[in-house]
Amino acid sequence: MVVDKWVFTASAKWQPLVRAGRVVLNEKANRLIWARGSRKFVSALVPSHDLTMELARAPLAPTGLQELIKLAPALQTVAPALEALQVVSAIGAAASVANLAISVAGFAAVLARLQRIEGKLDEMLVTLRGDLADLAGKLDDVAMATLLAGRDSLERSLAATAEPERLESARRARDRFQDCRMASLALWRRTVPWLNPAMNVATVLELQGRYVASAIGELQAAFILGDAGAFRHVARTTSADVRAEMMMSPVSALRVRTDAALKGLSKDNFQLLAGEVCGIPSLATQLRAAGGATTASANRLADFEDDADLPELLGAPGHEILRAMRDAPGLDVYALGHGFDEDGA
C-alpha cells in the first residue's frame, strides 16, 4: 500500500538529507529510511504542502482523521484501526502504521485461506515420489494443525488481560509458527519445486504460501513479545530464505516442465500432447506471476523490519497495536501474492 504521494512527505528538517540522497522514502512503509547501511527508520512523514493547502481550503478546517481520510482514500481501509489507536492527530504516525495494518489483516486472511484448502496439499503432491508424497501428506496434516494452533495461541495472547498469560501464549504461537515454517522449508529443499516437473505451479505456490503464512505468524508473535531485535531477526531471515531458496529462473522452470511433457511420447499416445502444447502460454503466464509473487513476498517480509519501531513511535505496546490492526476491516491479502496477476505485486 502506498499512500498517495501528495498526502505525506518528509518534514523540512529532513528535506536537505532527502535531496542529498542520504535518506529516502520507503513507499511501502510510508516513512523515511536511511539510504545506505541499516536502512533503518529515520522519521515518520508529515502532511505535504498539497494536503495542507487542501485542508486550508476546506470551509471548516478538518483536523480529525475522518476528514483526513476523505482526502487520502488509501487510508480508508485502516481508519478503524487508526481511530482505535487514537492517532488521529498524528498524521505521520498514521502513515507509518499503514504497513503493519496490512500485515496483520493479511495474516488473518491467509489463515482463512489456509483453512479452506486444508488437506489439499497432499492431494496436489500425489505425483511426487513415494517417499516425498508420504512426507508431504504427513506434513500437510501436522503443518495445518500447527498453523491453526499457532493462530489460536496468537489470538489468546491478544485476548489476555494478564501480562504473563499474554507472553506465554505469544511464545507458544511463535514456536508453533516457527516449527511450521521450518517444516515447509525442509519440504521445499527436498522437493526443489521450481525444477521439479512433477509439481505444478499452483502446488509450488501453495507450499511457498505455507512458509510465508508461518513467517507472518511468527512475526506477529515476536511483535507481541516486544523484543525489537528478535523481531528484526525473523523479518531478515525469512525474507532471506524466500530470496535464497524460493526465487526461480522462470525460463528454467518452464523448460523443465515442457521437456518433461514430451517424455514417453509415441504415435500411440500423442492425443494428449496437443492440449499440453496449447497450455504452454498459460504456463508461462503462471510462472511470470509466480516469480512476481515470490519477489513481492520477499520484499514484504523484509519490510516488516520497519515495524519494529512502531511501539516506540506510537507509544503503545505491540499487543495493543496488533489488536487494533486485527480489527481493521477490508484489508487485502498480499502474503501469497495475487494468484496469477501479471505483476504479482
Binding site: 515442457t258 504415435k267 500423442f270 500432447l273 492440449g275 504452454i280 508461462a284
Partner: protein, 205 residues
C-alpha cells in the same frame, strides 16, 4: 535445398528432449552430433510425409513444411469431425499450426462435447487459420477450446502422457508419425516464444 527453412530452424532451436521425441515418433535414431541429427530428422520427416514415388526425384530436404502442414490440417479436421477448412490467401505457418493444435485438442475430447461445443470449437479453429485467433493469446480470450484445455492438467504435474481419458484415434499410414512430429515442432515454437516473453519480463523487473 532449403537448408535453413522453418523445419531446420525449429530443429536447431529444439531442446534435447524435443529432438528425442521427434526421433522416437519418426523412428530415426540420433547419433549425438547436432548438425547430423538435425539433417537426419529433417530428412526423415520429409521422407515420411512425402509420396514415395515423388520422393524419388525430389531432394531429400525439399518438401516444404507448409505442404506437410496442409496434410496435417486435413487429418486434424477429420478427427475433430469437421470438414476440411478453406484456406485462403498465402499460407501463414503459425495460423496453420494453431488450427492443428485446436482441432487435435478438440478431437481428443470430442466424445464428451455437445454439437454446440463442437461448432464453437470449429469456429474458433477456423478463426485461427485466418489469423483472427491465436493460441498464444488463448488464455486471455476466454475461448472454448481453452476451456477444454483447462480441463486437462496442463504441463507440470501432468506429464504422464496417455494417463488421461482422451479419445484415442488412429491415424492412417504415415500420419501416425507425421502428426506427433509436427506437434513437437509446434511445441518448439510455443516454448521458444514463452521463454522469450519470460526473459523480457525478467529483464524489465
Amino acid at each position: 535445398m532449403p537448408a535453413n527453412d522453418l523445419i531446420f530452424q525449429r530443429l536447431k532451436a529444439a531442446t534435447d528432449a524435443e529432438l528425442a521425441a521427434i526421433s522416437t515418433v519418426l523412428e530415426a535414431k540420433l547419433i549425438g552430433e547436432p548438425a547430423a541429427d538435425i539433417a537426419l530428422l529433417s530428412r526423415a520427416l520429409r521422407k515420411t510425409a512425402g509420396h514415395s514415388l515423388r520422393n524419388l526425384w525430389r531432394d531429400e530436404h525439399e518438401l516444404a513444411y507448409d505442404q506437410i502442414l496442409s496434410d496435417v490440417i486435413a487429418e486434424a479436421a477429420k478427427h475433430a469431425g469437421w470438414p476440411a477448412p478453406n484456406i485462403e490467401g498465402p499460407p501463414t505457418t503459425a495460423w496453420f499450426e494453431d488450427y492443428v493444435l485446436l482441432a487435435l485438442t478438440f478431437a481428443a475430447h470430442k466424445m464428451d462435447a455437445t454439437p454446440e461445443a463442437s461448432a464453437t470449437a470449429r469456429t474458433e479453429a477456423e478463426a485461427a487459420i485466418r489469423g483472427q485467433y491465436s493460441v498464444e493469446k488463448s488464455w486471455t480470450g476466454g475461448a472454448v477450446t481453452a476451456a477444454v484445455v483447462a480441463g486437462l492438467a496442463v504441463l507440470g504435474g501432468a506429464i504422464a502422457l496417455g494417463g488421461y481419458a482422451v479419445n484415442r484415434f488412429l491415424l492412417s499410414g504415415n500420419m501416425s508419425k507425421i502428426v506427433p512430429a509436427v506437434l513437437v515442432l509446434i511445441h518448439v515454437r510455443l516454448r521458444e516464444t514463452a521463454e522469450k516473453s519470460l526473459e523480457v519480463a525478467n529483464g524489465s523487473r
